[in-house]
Symmetry: C2
Subunit: 228 residues, 2 copies
DNA sequence: ACAATAGTGTCTTTAAGACATTATTCA
DNA sequence: TGAATAATGTCTTAAAGACACTATTGT
C-alpha cells in the first residue's frame, strides 16, 4: 500500500465528527471523554484514524465513527473543513477532516460518564483544536439553516409544524413569524401531512397535525425565516 | 517529527488549487501539464505535497503553490473540500485538501505549453479526480456568487460597474437587470467611486466611472441578482 | 365558558423585475 | 446630429413581516 518512495513525510490523518442534536429546545453537541493520550481525560469530538483497509474514503471513515457513536446511519452528514498543522496534535503534523452530523436526539445514547451532550454555548475545554471545529459546524448549520431543510433533520421522521419552527428558531437564533413560516412551507411544498394519528402537546389546547419532509432537496432558492 | 507509533498507515497528503479567473467574459481555470508520473503528460490542477518543515498548515501549503503559479498572494483563497480514497492516486491511499483561488486575469501567467487557462466548460481530461475538484470549485463560486462579493475578486482592484455586472453574470450564468443590480450595490454600500481617472470602453459612448470594493464583508444578507 | 394551543387571513412594508428615460461621449 | 454606451427613474409584481383572527381541544 505504501510502495512509492515519499519525498516528504506523511502527516497523521484523522476524521472528527461534530454531532449536533436538538434537546429541550437547545442545540447540543456530542462529546466524549478521551480515554487515552493525547489530552487524556479531556472532552473531545468523536473521531479516529483513517483505516486504509476498511475505509473507502474519509466519508467512509466518519461513517464508521458515527455508527459506533450514534447507532446506524441515515441522518444528515456533510463534510465541514479540514484542519491541519504541526501543533494541533502533540504527536506531530496532522490533518483532521471534520464532518458535521445532524441527528435526532432519540438516535443518540443517553449521557454517561464518558459520552455526553453539551449545550453548544456551554462547552467544556476541548482537546486539540476541537473548539474551532465545533465552531465551524455551528457556523455551517446557522449559515445553511435559513435556506435549507437542515434544521428539520435534527427532528425525527415526523414532527409538528411547531416543532419544525422551533428547530429553525434554535438554529437561526431568532424567532420566526408563524404565518410567514407556514406560508413558505406551503408555497415550497416542503412538508406533507402524515396520514397517521394526531398529537397533542403541553397539556390542553388543540392537538397539532403531524408532518414529514416532502421533497428531497435539502437547499432551495428562498429562505425560511428571511434573510441570513 | 514522527516519533509516535502509528496504529494505522498514514495516507499520502497533498493540496490542490482550483485557480479561477475571468478572461474575455468567460470563466477559466488554470491547469498545468504534469511533467512526471502519475498521469505524466496529462493536464491537472496545480498542487503538491505538504511540506511539514515549511508549511504551517494546508493553507500555508496552498499559499506556497499559489505563489509559484500565480505570483504573490493577496487574492481570494478559500478551502473547498477534501478528497480522499485508495484509488484516486495510483501511488496509494491519499488525501487532497482542495482550495479555490479567485485571481484577476492579469495576475496569472500567459499560456505556455505546460501552463494554460481553459474555459471551465471545455476542460481536457484531467489527472486524478481533478475534474471533480474543479466541479466543486465551480459549485462553490456559483453558490456563493449571488450573496457575496466573490465575483468582484475576479476583477482587478478597480473596475467599472459594467465589468462588475458582467462578472456576476458570468458567475451566476444568467443576465441581471442593470437597474436592480446597481440599486443593490448602492443600498448595500458595496462599492465606492475611485477618485482617479475615468475610462471608456468599446469605442464611442459615455465613459464609465471607476469603482472599487468598499466594505470588507464578503457575504451579506441580501443577494446581488435575486435568488440563488 | 374559558384557557390553551393550533392554524389562517389580511394589511403593510420592502425588495426585486421590467423597462423607459436621461446623460455623456465620439464621429 | 446620431450612434453608442453609461446611468437613473418609475411602475409593477412578489415576497416577507406584523398582527389580528378563527379553530379545536381539555377542564
Amino acid at each position: 500500500m505504501q510502495e512509492f518512495q515519499d519525498r516528504y513525510p506523511r502527516p497523521i490523518a484523522t476524521v472528527d465528527a461534530v454531532i449536533l442534536t436538538l434537546s429541550d429546545g437547545r442545540l447540543q453537541v456530542l462529546l466524549h471523554r478521551r480515554p487515552e493520550a493525547p489530552f487524556s481525560g479531556a472532552w473531545g469530538l468523536p473521531g479516529g484514524f483513517i483505516r486504509q483497509d476498511e475505509d473507502h474514503d474519509t466519508e467512509g471513515a466518519i461513517g464508521r465513527v458515527l455508527r459506533e457513536k450514534a447507532g446506524t446511519s441515515g441522518f444528515w452528514v456533510e463534510q465541514l473543513a479540514t484542519f491541519s498543522g504541526p501543533v494541533r496534535d502533540p504527536r506531530g503534523w496532522s490533518i483532521s477532516v471534520a464532518y458535521m452530523a445532524l441527528v435526532p436526539r432519540d438516535r443518540l445514547p443517553v449521557d454517561t460518564d464518558t459520552v455526553r451532550l453539551f449545550d453548544v454555548d456551554a462547552l467544556p475545554p476541548l482537546a486539540f483544536d476541537h473548539a474551532a471545529i465545533v465552531a465551524a459546524g455551528l457556523e455551517r448549520l446557522r449559515g445553511k439553516g435559513a435556506y435549507s431543510t437542515l434544521p428539520a433533520t435534527l427532528l425525527g421522521e415526523v414532527f409538528t409544524l411547531k416543532d419544525l419552527q422551533n428547530a429553525y428558531e434554535v438554529v437561526l437564533g431568532r424567532t420566526l413569524d408563524t404565518s410567514s413560516f407556514r406560508r413558505r412551507l406551503n408555497e415550497m411544498r416542503l412538508v406533507e401531512e402524515v396520514p397517521g394519528a394526531e398529537r397533542r402537546q403541553t397539556g390542553s389546547g388543540r392537538p397539532s397535525k403531524v408532518f414529514r419532509l416532502a421533497r428531497d432537496p435539502h437547499t432551495f432558492d428562498r429562505t425560511l425565516g428571511g434573510a441570513v
